[in-house]
Amino acid sequence: MIDFEIPTPIKRQVQFITMLGEQVMRPVARYYDEHETERPWDYINLIWPTVRDRGGRSFSVDDTRGSVDKDGKPRPRIGYLMLAHTVEALSWGDAGLYLCTPGGALGGAAVDATGTPEQKERFLKRFGEGEPKWAAMAMTEPHAGSDTAAIRTTARLSEDGKEWILNGEKIFVTGGLMAARESPGFVVVWATVDPSAGRAGMKPFVVESGTPGMTVAKLEHKHGIRASDTAAIVLSDCRIPYDNILGSAEVAKGDDAGHKGFKGAMRTFDATRPLVAASALGIARAALEFTASYLKDRGVKVRYGIAPHLQTAMERDLIQMEMQHRAAWLLVLKAVTKMDAGEDNALEASMSKVKAGQVATFVSQKAVELLGPEGYSCKLLVEKWMRDARINDIYEGTGQINRLIVARRLLGYSSRELR
């Protein structure tokens, strides 16, 4: 039954985060944008107990699994729906700070998607106790971004077969500093156990924070989301226990081998892409709401349903921004409700990511334009939101890679048929 009613627990959560955004995040947003090397410990320490009490998955996705209502009927799962709203609302507060939220993040998602039950327990338990910590995911290399199958980081077995030895260089690791050095977290490193096997040889490995041989080589200086660190990580004869490989060490053979070996990474993306889209739209909503209310206070108000020839250019722009934003958000909701229902959502995940990346960029850039010199000025946060929003059409798969995924699905083509 088609229905747009948002469950009450989610509404309450969004209210709570909105308050957090207004009172805690917005007031320090500019400071951490301008002090790129400082970490926002005030925000981190404030949010950590909430994350920790929910098992460390930055607001767990498994809240409702197996629960029943008062009539004994199973409740529909709303974990990802909740998560999308949470991420959206935190990003509305500040996207840079949101990315500093302690917890499993993408590294945790990879463990969740590809690890055994024993590994999930061993690696994720820490996020439910003690001090704040982070996990990160290291996929991209200097010469391989979207073309993830071309990564060169290697993992070979030690002579006694008890350890993996990792060698290579990873870049653009979101939160890499916090995960690899500044907290007892971990980094999920994608490496190949057999360079001749292509995608089938690619495996995820958990490298604990502070493991000898893993060093943070560089911290990037970015266009936006500056509160969050982006690290280059070098692995130099980095030895980790054999059991830290996620999933099977076996290299699948045959026609479907590439897909099997790579499935873990792709499954992770099905879960994370709509969340990145949600983050994008949180920033876009911040820009849109601010711009609309700023202009309204100065006498520029949107009249819905007025004839086109009577509309001002400003009204047209604001309506365009609002409808694009709404369209993208509904695509996100569709992708996460499918995820919650346990259905394959790879198509919807990429669709929402394509649209949200584009919309967040458009809306935030338009906001700067509509507010003239005020929009361009660092007095307001609008110019910052534009810089923060821009990453969303790039990371977790560029708009182009996601278009390619959407097109392959629509056309029934393999990655070989549609390159």
Binding site: M1, I2, D3, F4, E5, I6, P7, P76, I78, L81, Y304, G305, I306, A307, P308, H309, L310, I319, Q320, E322, M323, Q324, R326, A327, A328, L330, L331, L333, K334, T337, M351, V354, K355, Q400, R403, L404, V406, A407, R408, L410, L411, Y413, E417, L418, R419
Partner: protein, 364 residues
């Protein structure tokens, strides 16, 4: 709880209408457009689907429980997937019935609704749009002046579907500060149906200009009586309907272009294997899906009795743009063949271009 899946009952309606659209409307669409006529048996079969009667409560001769914009919109998408002109033809009686149902007095409902739904397809219609570039439902140039127990209505209307055969018209006119609707029966003095119009698209749908020269009707013909009618509510039913029709047209164009691109070879492989084509198709699919979700949301608000103007305006504005972009890309993907009338995509582009203008031409 949020969900985007139609109910079982709605899915049944979707499947039934889709079958009719695919088997009946699609094969007849080319000839209908060329000859500007719709075969009567297609209309009769369409009426047999029972879409309007199922929206009208039993006490007024229908077999519906309550009118649902969402259900109507789901059916509208499928009809337009078949052919837009025929969809609009079939839905023309809605232009009269839906306003009477929602805003009519008890007397008006009891008088008009049973005779509309109890027999076969009967052409009742409405006249909202005016023949000016700045046609605007909120500032009508057609004027209704009250004199005692009568209204005197004068003005000029365009895009009035099925006017030549219509048994009664719902004419929108300025009445004091607001736009109100008036029920005017066929043959009333001063009401003249002019020549059939010709537009770039929806050519199979007979539309007419209407002239009203001092047309006198009793005050009881004012929709909603003393209370009048809620123009914004009626426009929202129209916005949702048009958004749904736009999605249907676009979906047809997308599927056709997708299938063509997989078959058509250039440089030794299907053109769909080029990113330039594949990306266009990906974007078309995304836009269609987004427009559909916005249309669902607006219809849901309407059915919940919320103020739906904002969501309906956004849904329609989005769908207007989407329909043009998607049909245009479909023509582009077919290249030279897309420009030839043997392929339906150029017709869909002509139809798709009209959605900006169609406000008031459809209702669910």
């Amino acid at each position: 709880m949020i969900s985007f899946a139609p109910s079982e009952e709605q899915q049944l309606i979707i499947d039934t209408v889709r079958r009719y659209a695919t088997d009946r409307l699609r094969p007849a669409a080319y000839d209908a457009d060329e000859t500007r006529t719709i075969p009567p048996d297609i209309v009769a079969r369409g009426w047999d689907l029972g879409l309007l009667p199922s929206a009208i409560p039993e006490q007024y001769g229908g077999f519906g429980e309550s009118h649902q914009a969402l259900t109507g919109a789901l059916a509208a998408e499928e009809l337009a997937y078949g052919d837009l002109a025929m969809a609009l033809h079939l839905m023309t009686p809605n232009l009269f019935a839906i306003p009477v149902l929602h805003c009519g007095t008890e007397e008006q409902k009891a008088k008009w609704l049973p005779r509309m739904v109890e027999g076969g397809f009967a052409p009742y219609t409405a006249a909202l749009i005016e023949p000016r570039w700045s046609s605007d439902p909120h500032t009508m140039h057609t004027v209704a002046e009250r004199e005692g127990n009568m209204y005197e209505i004068s003005g000029h209307k365009a895009l009035v579907p099925l006017a030549a055969d219509a048994q009664a018209f719902l004419v929108y006119a300025r009445d004091g500060d607001s736009t109100q609707a008036f029920i005017i029966e066929r043959g009333t003095e001063g009401l003249a149906v002019l020549e059939r119009e010709s537009y770039m698209g929806i050519r199979a749908l007979p539309t007419y200009e209407l002239r009203l020269d001092d047309v006198r009707v009793p005050v009881s013909c004012r929709l909603g009586g003393e209370q009048g009618s809620d123009l914004e509510l009626l426009l929202n039913y129209s916005r949702v309907a048009l958004a749904a029709l736009a999605v249907g047209v676009a979906r047809g164009a997308f599927e056709y272009a997708r299938d063509y691109a997989k078959q058509r070879e250039a440089f030794g492989k299907p053109i769909a294997q080029n990113q330039a084509i594949a990306f266009m198709l990906a974007e078309m699919a995304i836009e269609i899906d987004a427009a559909r979700l916005m249309m669902y949301e607006a219809a849901w608000h309407l059915d919940k009795g919320h103020n739906a103007t904002q969501t309906a305006v956004l849904a329609k504005a989005y769908a207007d743009e989407m329909a043009l972009v998607v049909t245009d890309r479909a023509v582009q993907i077919l290249g030279g063949h897309g420009y030839i009338r043997e392929h339906p995509v150029e017709r869909w582009l002509r139809n798709g271009r009209g959605f900006h203008t169609f406000l008031g031409l459809a209702m669910v």
